[in-house]
């Protein structure tokens, strides 16, 4: 980490968080995609071999994310302590669900059982939801704690999962079915709606100026490249234009990549802290009290 030496007057303003770096972001990026893929694999109507491959890929993504975060924590050899606070900690719950994911996932791959595939899909959704709640539980980061961040993280994980499933099917040569293409199209619509709801809600409720600047700059590109373009490609594939496998692959990869960039942007670049504030400037001498001071914030009427 580069040293961060703000001036005295800058200390109260929101600062970009510096404790969760790309390794933590990778857990949300890979883990979210993996959880989404497990759920999609359970219901996408893939053949037995493709389902096994999809489940294996989902498990690998989740394992990759957890490994990255293991390398980030300060005391990795105590990592088992993560299981000590199931009552309120979503990080504990994520770790517990991860055990269920790997256990049921391994059984589903070896047995090929449809029931177990559905169970691992449910576990994948629980993992994805746990990750979304980990972010939302962090009151110190306004962009994360906004309630609309939860559906955004879940929807992008599901869309990325469908994107992965379509890409895998296209690469396997079988070509994705109409059902899967339609599912991705629906999930794209849901994700863009969640994104707009999140950004609008955050702007209305008030947030650090720097965080809004990052998100506002990212939004148009995310909507165009991450939604508009893949939607056009998907429609082309659905109406039967030539090269269906390649167009589906392109759409899948675009959805996955845009989701990953969005999560990196949210976890790293837009993650500004709450900052510190004074509700009432103190009375000094004969002068009156001053108005509140909240450096670095864009305040909206009624917002906090």
């Amino acid at each position: 980490m580069k040293p961060f030496n703000p001036r005295a007057v800058e200390l109260a303003a929101p600062k970009q968080q510096r404790n969760w770096d790309w390794r933590a972001a990778a857990n949300f990026i890979c883990g979210g995609s993996g959880g989404g893929l497990l759920l999609v694999a359970a219901f996408a109507g893939l053949d037995a071999f493709a389902t096994r491959v999809a489940v294996l890929l989902g498990l690998a993504l989740i394992a990759c994310g957890l490994t990255c975060v293991w390398f980030e924590i300060g005391r990795p050899w105590r990592a088992m302590n993560v299981y000590r606070h199931f009552a309120t900690s979503w990080m504990t719950r994520e770790a517990v669900v991860a055990l269920a994911v790997f256990a049921t996932g391994a059984l589903a791959i070896f047995t090929g059982s449809v029931v177990l595939t559905v169970v691992v899909g449910a576990c994948g959704l629980a993992f994805l939801y746990s990750q979304a709640r980990i972010l939302a539980a962090n009151k110190g980061i306004p962009a994360w704690r906004h309630p609309a961040s939860v559906p955004l993280m879940v929807s992008t994980g599901l869309a990325e999962g469908a994107g992965f499933a379509i890409s895998a099917a296209a690469l396997a040569g079988a070509g994705p079915g109409t059902r899967l293409l339609g599912l991705l199209l629906v999930l794209l619509a849901v994700r863009v709606w969640c994104w707009r709801r999140f950004l609008g809600g955050l702007t209305r409720s008030g947030a650090p100026v720097a965080a809004l600047k990052v998100l506002d700059a990212f939004g148009p590109r995310f909507q165009t490249v991450g939604h508009g373009l893949p939607a056009v490609v998907l429609v082309a594939a659905l109406i039967g234009l030539p090269g269906r496998s390649m167009t589906a692959l392109l759409a899948g990869l675009l959805v996955v990549a845009s989701g990953w960039v969005m999560k990196y942007t949210l976890v790293r670049r837009a993650a500004y802290t709450q900052g510190l504030a004074v509700d009432h400037l103190p009375v000094r001498g004969r002068g009156p009290s001053g108005p509140a001071a909240k450096p670095g914030w864009k305040m909206m009427p009624g917002g906090s």
Partner: protein, 215 residues
């Protein structure tokens, strides 16, 4: 019940940073880490500008978000209101750092010394390896509070069982005591002044009260 809280009279704080230095001396925090800081806030527009000194640290919240998110139970809220960290349980995941809306927590991943890689004699003597790679923050000088339990002395009244920052404050801006004790100095001060708690809208029930005017 007992709940220890801190009062900070913003009318009195002169921004001298003596509390910052006292905290550093009492807790031997590494370079770049200050559990107690005094912020210098400039507000308003010329010619109506103001400068406010704002001492900040862990707010020892009544409903601490750091405690909720901690996956290891390393962070706990004690019966007397102090939010404590067990360094032997903490895994350094930084979830509590993200959950704290007061920038009160930090993690140091490798030893840091004031002058390069080698510690001065005083640093070597006070170096605590248990604090490397784990979350740390202001403790309200909990060793002193625990000492009060054993000796019958009163935190906020007897200096040896009062947080170092409060003892050091040159202007008497900082106070400490049991808010559930009607006779405590903090209770009396809060009864006769107007005060706020920072980011109260987040539901954290902070244990630090900022006094800004008379009632």
């Amino acid at each position: 019940m007992t709940r220890y809280v801190m009062t900070i009279d913003l009318r009195r704080c002169v921004g001298c940073q003596t509390c910052t230095a006292a905290c550093k001396g009492a807790n031997a925090t590494p370079p770049g880490i200050q559990w107690r800081r005094v912020l210098d806030i400039e507000s308003g527009e010329f010619p109506d500008v103001r400068r406010t000194f704002l001492p900040v640290a862990c707010m020892h919240c009544g409903d601490p978000p750091c405690e909720h998110v901690c996956p290891t139970r390393a962070t706990t809220k004690r019966a007397d209101g102090l939010v404590a960290i067990d360094y032997d349980l903490c895994i350094g995941c930084a979830n509590c750092v993200m959950a704290c809306p007061y920038d009160a927590r930090s993690i140091v991943h490798e030893p840091r010394y004031a002058y390069g890689d080698s510690p001065m004699a005083s640093e070597a003597k006070r170096f605590d390896p248990a604090r490397i790679g784990v979350s740390m923050k202001c403790t309200f000088c909990k060793d002193r509070i625990d000492h009060a339990e054993r000796t019958g002395k009163v935190p906020g009244v007897d200096p040896e069982v009062t947080p170092a920052c409060v003892n050091s404050c040159i202007s008497g801006a900082m106070g400490f005591g049991d808010i559930d004790d009607p006779e405590s100095s903090v209770n009396k001060l809060l009864a006769e002044t107007q005060h706020f708690r920072m980011h109260e809208e987040l539901g954290t029930e902070p244990g630090v009260y900022y006094v800004w005017d008379m009632s």
